[in-house]
């Protein structure tokens, strides 16, 4: 059976092979598997000259610089051309792009943006324009590709919903074969055609309106949509852009970046709450597993909505509001299944609706609802990797020098290098280095000290990692209302303190059916305060769900190189299960099992029991977690705050 998403993936691939310079690349979210393999196989068929860059590539190799080993061997400077300058006009493939260190990601971003690369040594500048295939294998709860880099890439595509059994439509396969042949014969043929396709004003207006409706701030997105639509038209061999081209381009560029649904369209799109596909989708319903997989990842995606999301606070406020904001009111009206071509609509509007509908065609209902509630679709991340705690090569407390080549901004420890080379001089003067073309030139003063690459020592520094305090606040009915106010007060006091120390703050609250990430790790105090004020109270105590979310959040913080500490404010009377059902014994069992998982993670935790009469339940769970348990009946905000500070100091 065929699948619209898979078709899109193949069209995206063809577009990228034809126009890597204009589109700059694709952010491909997909686990390694048969689907990914097939996709890469096709890419290789269309564009055989791809360059693969590993996540641990060093700056010298990327930008070009001095080749130390050869320089030493030959006794004269030897330069290395950087991959980025070399790859002009080609495609760079980055597997595990979410693990790119931030330095590498920002270099890629800058070169993509400016189209220029400066060599590390000397002042040479080269023009280079290439496309990037960023393969992001991150799980929903992990941090994804760096935001800045993702912004540069035109297409964002999620391959997770595609089933290996899905087949491409005949039209797509035919197109791929045609493109393969043509690219093989005239690699530049398409470039010229693309420049000659003009977008009609009405089409441009539709794209801009759609982008505005989706609340996309960046103006790159609508431009990329226009460019991609022109590329699709060329791929079809046509001279004008059709509505299909526009729809497909919008699906690949605009929809994944969407932050909201256009107000006018909500009745149309959300007419039916079942999982039937939107009316205009020409394809049969998407496979069910796909829907489930997406629905499963929803909450995680929400929590993945990292601190770097510009509008997310507004979004979250909107989602907390019991009544939807004005733009979304149509949602609640009894919706009638209106046809796309309503007679009252003008022609332009009709076209716009068609594009919108086709833009949303591959989106499952779960995600549509998420959009309608004002949550952004894109999982945003900060692309970090484990080990950043010690990564700082340039600052911090100095450690003993270690053997190694000074790459990636690490500094050569001159003294240690000389010390290593000194005792070996006699032997080296007698036997010239193997493979050297000539004996090294001698300086006028006499013999030169012979240094070989094995002598190099580098300077190392130890850096204290940033801390991230995760507040997990019980906002249930059992934690009575004034206790909640005190807890908020304590958090604010701690926030003020952490602001001075530049810690990151993260707030999770739990009540009713499940726990929610109120505030992803941030340093923005203004935002933290706003989120706290808007926090509602009342309902059951889904403690297990809170522990699960807290653990996920902590692990993510650790992945980004921070040291997380959990501060749990609760009475420990769990009565809602992970599934959102009321059952004390099951809820307690689940709590204990997550508490044990917590213990296995070795992350510091502090449990402040806020109940008026401290209860053994909270103590049990705290013990299972390995947390500091502090009963604080009748404690004010100030005392809570000072307790947490005291324990933190004790632990560090």
């Amino acid at each position: 059976m065929s699948n619209l998403a898979w078709d899109d993936a193949l069209w995206a691939l063809a577009a990228l092979s034809v126009d890597p310079k204009g589109l700059k690349g694709i952010w491909l979210r997909a686990p390694l598997g048969p689907v990914m393999q097939t996709w890469l196989h096709w890419l290789h068929a269309l564009k055989p000259d791809t360059v693969k860059i590993p996540a641990n590539i060093d700056t010298e190799r990327l930008l070009g610089g001095l080749d130390l080993a050869t320089t030493l061997q030959l006794g004269r400077p030897t330069m290395l051309q950087g991959i980025l300058a070399h790859a002009s006009g080609q495609l760079l493939i980055c597997p595990m792009a979410e693990r790119l260190p931030s330095a590498t990601a920002s270099i890629l971003t800058q070169v993509l943006d400016t189209g220029r690369v400066n060599s590390l040594v000397g002042h040479s500048t080269e023009s280079t324009r290439f496309g990037v295939v960023a393969i992001d294998e991150s799980l929903p709860q992990e941090s994804a590709l760096a935001n800045g880099l993702a912004e540069q890439l035109a297409m964002w595509l999620d391959l997770t919903p595609v089933n290996p059994k899905d087949e491409a439509s005949d039209e797509t396969l035919e197109m791929l074969e045609r493109v393969e042949k043509k690219l093989h014969n005239h690699p530049q043929a398409y470039q010229e055609c693309i420049a000659h396709i003009a977008l009609e004003d009405s089409q441009l207006r539709d794209i801009c309106e759609l982008a505005m409706g989706f609340a996309i701030a960046s103006l790159r997105a609508p431009w990329y949509t226009a460019r991609l639509a022109s590329v699709f038209a060329t791929l079809r061999g046509a001279n004008t852009i059709s509505a299909d081209d526009l729809g497909r381009a919008a699906r690949l560029v605009l929809t994944p970046r969407a932050r909201a649904l256009p107000a006018s369209s909500q009745t149309d799109v959300l007419a039916d709450d079942s999982s039937t596909p939107p009316p205009t989708s020409p394809e049969p319903p998407l496979p069910d597993e796909h829907d489930n997989a997406q629905a499963h990842s929803d909450p995680a995606e929400e929590c993945d909505d990292g601190p770097h999301d510009e509008d997310s606070h507004a979004d979250r406020e909107a989602s907390q509001n019991p009544t939807p904001p004005s733009g979304l009111t149509e949602l609640n009206e009894p919706s009638e299944p209106s046809e796309p071509s309503e007679p009252t609509l003008s022609e332009v509007q009709a076209l716009e609706t068609t594009i919108l509908e086709s833009a949303l065609a591959t989106l499952p209902q779960g995600l549509l609802n998420q959009l309608a509630q004002g949550q952004s679709l894109a999982t945003k991340g900060n692309g970090g990797r484990v080990g950043q705690v010690q990564k700082s090569a340039q600052k911090g407390r100095p450690l003993a020098p270690t053997k190694g080549l000074p790459h990636n901004g690490q500094r050569l420890h001159v003294l240690a290098t000389l010390r290593h080379a000194a005792p070996r001089q006699k032997i080296r003067q007698a036997t010239p280095a193997a493979g050297s073309a000539s004996t090294p030139p001698r300086t006028e003063g006499g013999k030169r000290v012979q240094i070989r690459s094995e002598d190099f020592h580098i300077q190392r520094f130890a850096k204290r990692s940033e801390s991230c305090i995760i507040f997990c606040i019980d906002a249930s009915g059992s934690a009575a209302l004034e206790r909640l106010a005190e807890a908020k007060g304590a958090v604010e006091l701690l926030l003020k303190d952490s602001y001075a120390r530049r810690d990151h703050i993260c707030v999770i609250s739990f009540r009713d059916k499940s726990a929610q990430l109120q505030l992803p790790a941030t340093r923005s105090l203004v935002r933290a305060k706003r989120e706290l004020q808007a926090m509602p109270g009342g309902g059951g105590t889904p403690l297990a769900s809170a522990l699960k979310l807290a653990l996920e959040t902590s692990l993510k913080a650790r992945q980004r190189g921070m040291t997380p500490t959990l501060v749990m404010l609760s009475d420990g009377r769990a009565n809602v299960t992970l599934q959102g059902e009321g059952s004390r014994p099951i809820a307690k069992a689940q709590c204990l099992s997550w508490a044990q998982q917590w213990r296995a993670s070795f992350i510091n935790a502090i449990w402040l029991d806020t109940s008026a009469r401290p209860d053994p339940q909270g103590q049990d769970i705290a013990q299972a977690m390995g947390a500091h348990y502090v009963p604080l009946p009748l404690a004010g905000s100030q005392r809570m705050a000072s307790t947490v500070q005291a324990i933190q100091e004790l632990q560090s």
């Binding site: 204009g22 700056t59 001095l66 130390l68 320089t71 030493l72 006794g75 260190p101 931030s102 330095a103 590498t104 990601a105 920002s106 270099i107 800058q110 943006d113 400016t114 220029r116 590390l120 040594v121 002042h123 500048t125 023009s127 935001n147 800045g148 912004e151 420049a195 977008l199 004003d201 441009l204 207006r205 309106e209 505005m212 701030a217 960046s218 103006l219 790159r220 997105a221 609508p222 431009w223 226009a226 460019r227 770097h308 999301d309 510009e310 997310s312 090569a393 340039q394 901004g409 050569l412 001159v414 300086t443 000290v449 926030l495 003020k496 602001y499 340093r523 923005s524 105090l525 203004v526």
Partner: protein
């Protein structure tokens, strides 16, 4: 060489463009901080500067781009050269606009021991970094709020002193590094320390255009540019030249613009009302309004200039209770109204 997007073809972004012109006229205004979403044209505006501003004369082969005419500021080599030669060989280059990547190491920024020469020739010499390259031009840092603190401190220090002092690895080098610091970022992604905010002369907020037609125009121009950059550059040549003339004329006129005591009193009153720390706010207000008046072709600085400049010169300097979130723009507006400016 990639052709930059012409400055005059940038749609909207009035504040940002004004601020850039002001620092182009008077570099002592000390930098711009542009805050806003990604993809709204901040980088485009900054990178367009090299093409907009007139080329400068530099001493030939000088890694720091020293001015052959200026006897006061130059690196050690150029100082010697200038002392012995009356006519220093020079060449014309475009104003440097240096992009500082987020992950840049300290070595790359300040410069370091030249390993190449140290290893192959056994000579101790200095390999200049990005600061040397940015001398007499602009240093642009995208996402300045995500830059590591120690680098930011270093940059601010150099920007303020106009000189880069390197004391490490047995090197002792001092070279001029006078540049205009331009930072951009999104405050929601991480805040800047108040000390740092204060160092930027002007702070502008760059928003995505809310008007559909304006957005369409942006996309249209971008499309035309991508399809044929050379033609697009030609089309905007006249507009760019007019703007360049305006800046050059303003530079000449700058010293003649009158700043009277009444106006300075007004500036001080405004700063007092808002309770800004230190005198940097007044100094910036004075310089920026003067440059703005010169750009407008006015002979005297007046309250109307202050009205335009005050928000961008003061918003980021207001002392802020981290837990109070009244907009600072609103506070400046209120103060302006109170003083009937």
């Amino acid at each position: 060489m990639a052709i930059p997007f012409p400055f005059s073809a940038i749609v909207g972004q009035h504040d940002m463009k004004t601020a850039i012109q002001i620092v182009a006229v008077d570099a002592s205004v000390n930098g711009i901080l542009a805050l806003g979403d990604r993809g709204t044209g901040k980088s485009t505006a900054v990178r367009a500067l090299a093409d907009l501003l007139p080329p400068i004369k530099v001493v030939k082969h000088c890694p720091y781009g020293c001015d052959p005419k200026d006897p006061t500021v130059s690196c050690e080599q150029c100082a010697k050269l200038k002392a012995t030669h009356s006519n220093v060989p020079s060449e014309s280059v475009s104003v440097p606009v240096v992009d500082l990547p987020l992950g840049a190491s300290e070595d790359r920024v300040v410069g370091a021991l030249d390993l190449e020469k140290a290893l192959s020739l056994g000579i101790k010499s200095f390999s200049p970094g990005l600061l040397a390259k940015a001398n007499r031009g602009f240093l642009y840092i995208d996402e300045v709020n995500l830059l590591e603190d120690h680098l930011v401190d270093l940059l601010i220090d150099v920007a303020a002193s106009g000189e880069n002092l390197v004391e490490r690895e047995g090197l002792s080098v001092r070279h001029p590094a006078r540049f205009v610091l331009v930072g951009s970022g999104n405050p929601e992604e991480g805040e800047l320390r108040p000390q740092l905010l204060d160092r930027f002369g002007l702070c502008v907020e760059v928003r995505t255009p809310k008007d559909l037609d304006e957005r369409i125009l942006v996309i249209k121009r971008r499309d035309a540019f991508e399809k044929n950059p050379r033609q697009f550059q030609q089309d905007w040549m006249a507009a760019n030249e007019a703007l360049r003339d305006k800046i050059l004329k303003a530079r000449k006129r700058l010293d003649k613009v009158v700043l009277d005591d009444d106006f300075l009193r007004l500036c001080s009153q405004l700063c007092l009302t808002l309770g800004t720390d230190g005198l940097r706010a007044e100094l910036t207000l004075m310089r920026a309004t003067r440059a703005y008046a010169a750009l407008e072709g006015d002979k005297k600085v007046e309250a109307k200039h202050l009205r335009v400049i005050a928000p961008m010169a003061l918003c980021h300097r207001l002392r802020r209770d981290p837990l109070d979130d009244t907009g600072s723009a609103a506070r400046v507006e209120r103060a302006l109204e109170e003083l009937a400016i």
